[in-house]
């Protein structure tokens, strides 16, 4: 035989896991408290999904991207807060711009874009105060098709019937303040394109309104809570209630410390990151089930054994399984971290952490929870006898 069985984890380990349970619990509590404090003090680095605003991905036409000069250029455009980060490789960057207001400054930007794209003879001015109107002035007479082409250069879409019908050199475009605000996002994108377009290609643009973020956060929190609730109920149904609570504590531990990782490394908290948090909640239980399954089996088999001893015994018995299942997922996720590209980066990092911490918490946190909840073998036996007596 060319191949010999490979035991990455020795068959008969006798680690005293439960002896260190107070240390582990203390450490974990500290990590969790720090995570929550960090969350409260520094907050999450919310992505555009949650925060709203504009995100533009650009790539250098030639050579590498110079973040400093790009930052200086885009920061001086008068678009408010602009932040830059490199994105994936050294040619690509993500420009984040705060959400634009539909004010006169935005119309002034549109004026500049129009002059830049259509010629100096053009001008764009705000209409009546308080309304969303914009007045375009052309260097010469235009018909409605001409007007339509002209205003589309600043990203403005208007219905044909709102354009002047007769040939004219002045057109007032009617917009509500909300419509103008929405248009101003597109104007800002054009402003950036004009400023850096000679050296950079725009690869994607995103503009997200302010309303959606709060809703996403809301449904995200509900999703996390519902997932936890459903899993605990399932565990309770399949095991004793103490197992359910133990699993819940382990799960909370994993989720909170994952959020701590997001806070610590300022990872972009986007919708995919939220998906990672929920998957970790689901995955956390995976290893816990393996350990708990054995604990339950041993509780029935060794009725006299002391609980701490029994837990230690069960954990050691299943150690190889617990670690090996984690390794396979770890390997797959590691490939995502390395090759998955910038979009998946924060998701993959979070998952990687989730796999590690999920394994740790199954061993220490979930089982230590059982000890603190005083799960007794006798208790289980009584219940079983009761059930038998009934049957």
């Amino acid at each position: 035989m060319l191949w010999k069985p490979l035991h990455l984890v020795p068959a008969n380990t006798k680690f005293d896991f439960m002896g260190k349970r107070k240390l582990a619990l203390g450490l974990s509590t500290l990590v969790n408290v720090l995570s929550l404090v960090g969350l409260a003090v520094f907050g999450l680095n919310f992505g555009i999904d949650f925060q709203g605003g504009i995100a533009i991905q650009v790539r250098a036409k030639e050579g590498v991207i110079h973040l400093d000069s790009l930052r200086a250029t885009t920061g001086a455009l008068g678009l408010g807060e602009v932040s830059l980060q490199s994105f994936g490789d050294d040619r690509t960057a993500l420009i984040r711009v705060q959400r634009q207001e539909g004010n006169n400054a935005c119309v002034a930007h549109a004026d500049a874009v129009m002059k830049h794209r259509a010629g100096e003879g053009w001008s764009v001015k705000p209409g009546a105060e308080g309304a969303g109107d914009v007045v375009f002035t052309a260097p010469g007479q235009l018909d409605s098709a001409g007007w339509r082409d002209a205003v589309s250069r600043v990203g403005l879409t208007v219905l044909e019937r709102e354009l002047p019908r007769a040939n004219t050199n002045v057109a007032k475009i009617d917009m509500t303040p909300d419509q103008r605000a929405e248009w101003c996002q597109q104007v800002a994108i054009k402003v950036i394109d004009d400023a850096i377009g000679s050296k950079y290609d725009i690869r994607s643009t995103e503009s997200v309104g302010p309303k959606i973020g709060a809703e996403l956060m809301h449904s995200g929190i509900i999703a996390v809570l519902a997932t936890m609730g459903a899993i605990v109920v399932y565990m309770w149904f399949r095991f004793e209630w103490q197992f359910g609570v133990g699993a819940l504590i382990a799960m909370l531990h994993d989720v909170i410390s994952t959020i701590g990782v997001f806070v610590l490394f300022r990872l972009d908290f986007s919708l995919t990151a939220l998906a990672a948090v929920l998957t970790i909640a689901g995955y956390s239980i995976n290893d816990t089930v393996v350990v708990f399954d054995r604990v339950r089996e041993n509780l029935r088999r060794y009725k006299k054994m002391n609980l701490v001893e029994l837990l230690n015994f069960s954990i050691n018995e299943t150690l190889s399984r617990t670690l090996m299942t984690s390794v396979t997922v770890f390997v797959a996720v590691a490939a995502l971290v390395v090759f998955g590209g910038p979009v998946l980066y924060s998701f993959s990092i979070a998952m990687l952490w989730g796999v590690i911490v999920g394994t740790y918490s199954s061993i220490w946190i979930a089982c230590a929870g059982l000890v603190f909840m005083k799960l007794r073998p006798e208790q289980l036996r009584h219940e079983e006898e009761g059930a038998k007596a009934k049957a």
Partner: protein, 557 residues
């Protein structure tokens, strides 16, 4: 025992082969694709917007406006019905909380009034005491109506965006009042936005010539059957003369009725009967065309009615020769030509001062029907095609590398035989997921690929659980056969528990999540679901078949 009846073995193999068949169109080259029947070849996984590039919009429907309009209609009908039944009332008003209040002059007429209300709409919930009657729609009814509005909007959007059926947009409902519109492969969104913005509600009304004959611009009193609607020329004149007023009309919330606009802003209006003779829903077709040269050759819109529309139009024109017929589009009268003769051919034309482009656009909007609610864009994203190509590349590399690493790991740890079983089961699992996604017509996004990679990692888990248990049983002194059987059976509960709990998370993710989360949740949940099959039945078949064939006395594991 680890035995499996022969029929089950055959069933599993057939099932797996079927899955392979359904996953196959995804990898077939186009030349073969064209030969195959369409229903089969079309079963393939769509690439999401982030992978193929295109535009993404999140639209919000103005449901409040729709509900308000509905309540206004109800209050009008109630008023008319009460008058018809000679019930005296102080007022019928639409309240901001979504109720219609009727206040009677005489409490004694309450029963009669309630009957009249029932005649208007039997689904109205009636409350209130004494002279007050409080009308409202039930929650269920509102919910149903809202759903109807969104569903209808989606249908109409589809017709407008994808008239030719080649663009394959994704248009789905998001939450209560939103619609997600994704159009692959486009870069300039200007044209698209134009198609989304207009409601295009077309109705034909008779002009009330008696009122019009009075010659007043704004008649002080109107018969209840008649209302004032501004003319298009009038609105355009207002826009030129008083832009602020026009702004006010556009942004008013709740929206102003046409008659309110007429009275408040002194716009030139026409008195028209409220009764709709034919509506846009009865249009079969609308085309942009030109008048004959004798008539000036201007761009016009020609339309055809369906049978019902044609009949009503025929009857109405026959009875009203010499009167004007107003063509109303989105609360403005485009034109009001005099009926020269009965028009019974089921078709007609709309003239107005149109340009060619305008007639083409209007015709498309009329063909597709009116949007039941105004839609506002609240989120807009575009993804360039080359960015999509990059995403495909990095996703594929990550998936391939991840899968290979897992396979190598399994081979190294459990040997060519058992590692091979695990990898075979994992490959079958992937095949099932791809087949499932093809059958569902699901979109594969970058987060979806992440879900697949995660599935790869998790689907060998159950083999690990089984093998580790077998090792334990072997160490405890069982025979090869006994260790394998016991290992499989005892690991099964842990396998099922861990899969079901992860599946719970996956399904909830799908339920609550939106956008990128959905794509991830779809592939992950599907992967876990199919994994329940491969981990339990398929692996069992492999082990049982192998044992029957080799009858091993010693396990090398």
């Amino acid at each position: 025992m680890l035995n499996l009846p022969r029929w089950q073995t055959i069933a599993i193999i057939v099932f797996t082969a079927l899955a392979g068949l359904f996953a196959l169109p995804n990898v077939l080259p186009e030349s073969i694709d064209n030969v195959l029947p369409k229903w089969y070849a079309q079963n393939r996984i769509n690439l999401g917007l982030d992978l193929r590039g295109g535009a993404h919009f999140l639209l919000e429907a103005d449901l409040r406006g729709v509900m308000n309009e509905r309540l206004t209609n109800v209050s009008d009908s109630v008023r008319a019905e009460l008058r018809k039944n000679q019930v005296a009332f102080k007022e019928v008003s639409v309240e901001p909380n979504g109720h219609v209040l009727v206040i009677l002059r005489d409490e004694a007429q309450r029963a009669k009034a309630v009957e009249a209300v029932r005649a208007v709409d039997p689904t109205l919930a009636i409350a209130g005491t004494g002279p007050t009657i409080d009308l409202t729609y039930s929650e269920q009814d509102l919910f149903r109506k809202k759903k109807e509005v969104i569903d209808q909007s989606i249908e109409i959007l589809r017709r407008r965006v994808d008239e030719t059926g080649t663009i394959e947009p994704t248009i789905v409902r998001e939450g209560d009042d939103r619609i997600l519109l994704q159009v692959p492969g486009i870069k300039d969104t200007t044209d698209l936005k134009r198609k989304i913005n207009q409601t295009a509600k077309l109705t034909f009304h008779l002009v009330n010539e008696d009122v019009a004959a009075r010659g007043q611009a704004l008649p002080a009193t109107l018969p209840p059957t008649t209302s004032l609607v501004p003319t298009r020329e009038g609105m355009q004149a207002l826009r030129a003369a008083n832009p602020k007023a026009f702004e006010e009309i556009q942004s008013a919330n709740p929206r102003l009725t046409p008659e309110q606009i007429c009275r408040r802003f002194q716009v030139p209006c026409l008195p028209v009967f409220k009764r709709v003779i034919v509506g846009g829903e009865d249009l079969d077709d609308a085309k942009a065309t030109f008048e004959s040269q004798q008539n000036g050759g201007r761009p016009i819109i020609s339309f055809t009615f369906n049978a019902a529309g044609g009949r009503s139009f025929c009857a109405a024109t026959r009875q009203n020769i010499g009167k004007r017929l107003a063509i109303q589009l989105d609360n403005e009268i485009i034109s009001a030509p005099v009926v020269q003769s009965a028009i019974c051919g089921g078709s007609g034309i709309i003239t107005g001062q149109f340009t060619t482009q305008q007639t083409q656009e209007q015709a498309l909007l009329l063909r597709s029907g009116a949007l039941p609610a105004t839609l506002t864009i609240i989120e807009e994203r575009t993804v360039g095609a080359d960015l999509g190509a990059d995403a495909i590349h990095s996703g594929t590399v990550a998936a391939v590398v991840g899968t290979l690493l897992v396979m190598v790991f399994m081979f190294v740890t459990y040997g060519p035989l058992f590692g091979g079983f695990a990898n075979l089961a994992m490959s079958v699992n992937m095949l099932l997921v791809l087949a499932g996604m093809s059958i569902l017509g699901a979109s594969l996004t970058l987060p979806g690929i992440a879900g697949l990679v995660l599935t790869v990692g998790m689907s060998v888990d159950s083999n690990v659980l089984i093998y580790e248990r077998v090792r334990e049983e072997k160490a405890a002194g069982r025979s090869a056969l006994g260790a394998l059987t016991a290992g499989y059976e005892r690991a099964l509960t842990a396998v099922i528990d861990s899969n079901l709990t992860a599946l719970i998370a996956g399904v909830l993710l799908f339920g609550f999540g939106s956008g990128p989360i959905r794509g991830f949740a779809t592939s992950l949940s599907l992967g876990l679901l199919t994994h329940l099959f491969t981990a339990t039945i398929f692996t069992r078949m492999l082990l049982a078949t192998w044992m029957r064939w080799r009858r091993p006395t010693e396990l090398v594991l």
